[in-house]
């Protein structure tokens, strides 16, 4: 159970990073990449 607290703490760190990433526009960057065919991913780039 003790180790689960480390997991919860890591999860909170993850949430903070996500929130900061959203505020700094990185979610938009991911969206821009994801809605175009990733030519590298499909071996055409």
């Amino acid at each position: 159970m003790k180790r689960a607290y480390f997991g919860i703490a890591a999860g909170v760190i993850g949430l903070v990073l996500i929130a900061y990433g959203v505020l700094s526009g990185q979610a938009g960057l991911v969206l821009q990449k994801a809605i175009r065919v990733c030519l590298e991913c499909v071996g055409l780039g």
Binding site: G7, G14, Q26, A34, C41, V42, L44
Partner: protein, 306 residues
């Protein structure tokens, strides 16, 4: 012909894997048009390895997102968003994601079910080869995209040169349905087809070869296996060390010796194979090795027998 050992409950796990694969890629009509989804949900990462260039994909691949955000506008940037997603998924579930929520893991599980002349559980060099995935994570997913990309374009080296999921779920359906894309297939395309073919062939022989040796996502989530909230627990007082769990482990590890191993994909085959219920999923990794309790249980059992 060698076959995989069957364990009760595998069907239910595969049903969950199939449902998850469908949920990640539910825009099935895009497979016919050879286009990809443009929805805003694609700014959110899914936990498993699922290429965002799969025609049906409704979310982003976390490894693709990581590679594309370590550099932005020609400058190195800290990937807060993608790393946050990876840490959150890892902290809650660890490699349970590999066992239940990864479409490419599901494909490998199905391939391993096909009878083949031999099924290898382990071999000389197996342990050493497992370190490759950490090099893939560090080099191809972080350092190379960060330092070897051009000024304006970030190159996702893992996606470009290795990722078989992108080929299977993205390239093959897209090039089959879209002649314009198919006409662009060159050396890189065939290189990646060869990588996919090797992994498919290896999957007939070895359980989950991509997860064992190459997957950077599994390498990352494995780091959280010891602290993940949902985790495998082992009750020493119930365990008879019969080896039933080790015999069915698809990753070739001994769950009793190392139930929090970075290699464990939490598929729960060990738990389902255990005749005494000594392994189970719970909150927090835990070894219930309370010797006093185990001794008390033995005394109690002894008194009852008298």
């Amino acid at each position: 012909m060698a076959k995989e050992k069957r364990v009760k409950g595998d069907g239910k796990r595969h049903a969950i894997q199939a449902a998850v694969t469908l949920a990640y890629n539910f825009k099935l009509w895009n497979f016919l048009s050879g286009s990809i989804s443009q929805g805003k949900t694609k700014s959110i990462c899914v936990p498993g390895l699922n290429c965002y260039s799969c025609p049906g994909a409704v979310g982003a691949c976390p490894m693709g997102a990581l590679q594309n955000t370590v550099r932005n506008g020609g400058r190195i940037s800290f990937p807060y968003y993608a790393l946050g997603m990876l840490i959150l998924f890892g902290a809650v579930l660890g490699r349970l994601i590999c066992g239940f929520l990864c479409p490419f893991g599901f494909v490998q599980d199905l391939l391993y079910k096909i009878p083949f002349f031999k099924k290898l559980r382990s071999f000389r060099g197996d342990r050493a080869l497992r370190w490759i995935k950490y090099a893939v994570l560090l080099l191809l997913c972080i350092l190379f995209p960060m330092f070897l990309s051009g000024d304006w374009v970030t190159v996702p080296f893992f996606c470009k040169y290795i990722c078989p999921s992108g080929m299977l779920f993205g390239a093959i359906p897209l090039t089959l349905a879209n002649p314009a894309l198919a006409s662009q297939a060159g050396g890189l395309f065939w290189w990646k087809i060869a990588v996919l073919a090797v992994i498919v062939l290896l999957s007939l022989l070895i359980s989950r070869p991509f997860c064992r040796y190459l997957c950077p996502l599994g390498a990352f989530y494995g780091l959280f296996n010891r602290i993940a909230i949902v985790n495998l627990q082992h009750s020493e007082d119930k365990c008879t060390h019969c080896g039933a769990c080790e015999a069915v482990c698809p990753m070739g590890i001994d769950p009793v010796k190392d139930y929090a191993s970075t290699e464990c994909i939490r598929c729960t085959r060990c738990a389902r194979a255990c005749p005494h219920g000594a392994l189970h999923l719970g909150i927090g990794a835990q070894k219930n090795s309370d010797k006093k309790q185990a001794a008390a249980n033995r005394r109690k059992a002894g008194r009852k027998n008298k």
